[in-house]
């Protein structure tokens, strides 16, 4: 490495100048910490903090990605979301209702959805496995009743944002939105119908 003498001293001078400029930058950062601080103290300060230039206000979002939620009263069991899911993490079972649009008290089945469509099916099982969900939001678009949506953001009125849903046991992350006991309730009713007719 036959560096001649000129190069030798130029290297030393270059080292000194560049290292000192680097240190001056970090020194400025140290001084301006009050203004430049970008971290949140998590349990106390929650995401987002628009006034401190961290994240933006969720209210003017067009779409949000967080935990899925389903309003069972509006779900007509059309299975469109189950087909749209690329990772098949939604499972729905439905049973035909004797009469369209009638409420069935024992099972808590509401006959007419908020959009006014009369339901023909009781959804006995609506499971979403949040461990497999890839948060791609493809299931939200085809829903005719907009009953499946991600919490928070534009849907904040229906359901506040919820991104702290970690559990101790993985099986608890399989959300079962169907009304409990609706499966055997509706079967018993159907059996009684057969018995009468």
């Amino acid at each position: 490495m036959g560096r001649n003498m000129g190069r030798y001293f130029k290297d030393i001078w270059e080292t000194l100048t560049t290292l000192l400029t680097g240190m001056s930058i970090t020194w400025l950062h140290m001084l301006r910490i009050k203004k430049d601080n970008v971290t949140l103290q998590y349990p106390e300060e929650k995401w987002p903090r628009p006034e401190r230039n961290i994240g933006h206000d969720h209210s003017n979002y067009n779409v949000i990605r967080s935990r899925l939620h389903v309003d069972m009263d509006d779900c007509i069991g059309c299975l469109k979301c189950e087909r749209a899911c690329p990772v098949d993490c939604i499972k729905i079972d439905t049973v035909k209702v004797p009469e369209r649009g009638k409420d069935i008290k024992e099972v808590g089945h509401v006959g007419i959805t908020s959009n006014g469509t009369r339901k023909a099916l009781v959804v006995t099982r609506f499971d979403i496995d949040m461990t497999e969900c890839c948060y791609c939001n493809l299931c939200v678009y085809p829903c005719p009743e907009e009953c499946i949506y991600m919490t928070g953001g534009p849907n904040a009125k229906k359901h506040p944002i919820d991104y702290e849903f970690s559990e101790h046991d993985r099986s608890e992350l399989v959300y079962r939105f169907a009304k409990p006991g609706s499966k055997d309730g509706i079967e018993r009713i159907m059996a009684e119908q057969e018995a009468e007719s």
Binding site: K91, D127, D129, S171, V174
Partner: protein, 232 residues
């Protein structure tokens, strides 16, 4: 010398645009002829900018939209390959690709790369295909950095004798592309220095991307297909 060659090329191109193709063809000097062809191609493209793909619906395939001159490169280079290596074409010329037989593929590759008016120096990608009825196919997308030509060469081989000469020495990236195609489809590339699986563990059975592939039950005792109780 080059001024006079420039003039020769420009008026040959004029005549060719006017429709008289052999003005270019009877230029003896090969380099000047190829330059004239390139200039002609460029002139045609400027004439007809943004050429929409000439929809040749005859073949089963919708043509690959190539950004090369309006005269389809696959066809142009297909017949040049046919002239240089007679009998290497497999079936007639198509717009979307050049169908070749596997046997002379290695020296065609060397020729494609070193021929000075083609210079296909960058192998874009090798795609393995399972065409069904036990035919496998390797599709090579080649591209010339200098002349901006892009062609696609396909080589079909039967499943039981899946053997294609390797082009690892011609384009160095062929080494890994071929290993991946071998890993996924089981096409063994003869002449490849160290042909082994690249993505899957070395002792994995079966070729995953083939249509008739069944996942093996266990791998070293680990259950392979994901079992989730209480879900189905």
């Amino acid at each position: 010398m080059s001024k006079e060659r420039e003039k020769l090329i420009s008026d040959a191109v004029e005549k060719a645009i006017a429709g008289d193709m052999d003005a270019i063809n009877n230029i003896e000097d090969r380099v000047v002829r190829s330059k004239a062809k390139a200039a002609l191609a460029k002139a045609k493209r400027l004439q007809k900018d943004g050429s929409s793909p000439d929809a040749d619906l005859s073949g089963s395939d919708v043509p690959t939209v190539s950004n090369a001159p309006s005269e389809n490169p696959n066809r142009m280079f297909g017949d040049r390959i046919n002239q240089k290596f007679p009998g290497s074409l497999d079936g007639d010329l198509k717009d979307t690709h050049i169908q070749l037989k596997p046997d002379q593929w290695n020296d065609i590759a060397i020729w494609l790369k070193t021929e000075d008016d083609m210079l296909f120096d960058s192998l874009q990608c090798i795609t393995g295909m399972d065409m069904g009825e036990d035919i496998l196919e390797a599709r090579y997308n080649l591209h010339s950095m200098k002349y901006r030509f892009a062609i696609e060469i396909r080589i079909a081989i039967p499943k039981n004798k899946a053997e294609i000469p390797s082009i690892e020495q011609v384009w160095r990236i062929g080494d890994w592309f071929e290993r991946e195609t071998y890993d996924m489809y089981g096409i063994s590339f003869s002449g490849h220095t160290d042909l082994r699986r690249i993505l899957l563990p070395d002792d994995w059975e079966g070729w995953p991307l083939r249509k008739d592939y069944e996942v093996q039950e266990t791998y070293h005792g680990i259950v392979v297909p994901k079992v989730k109780e209480g879900w189905e």
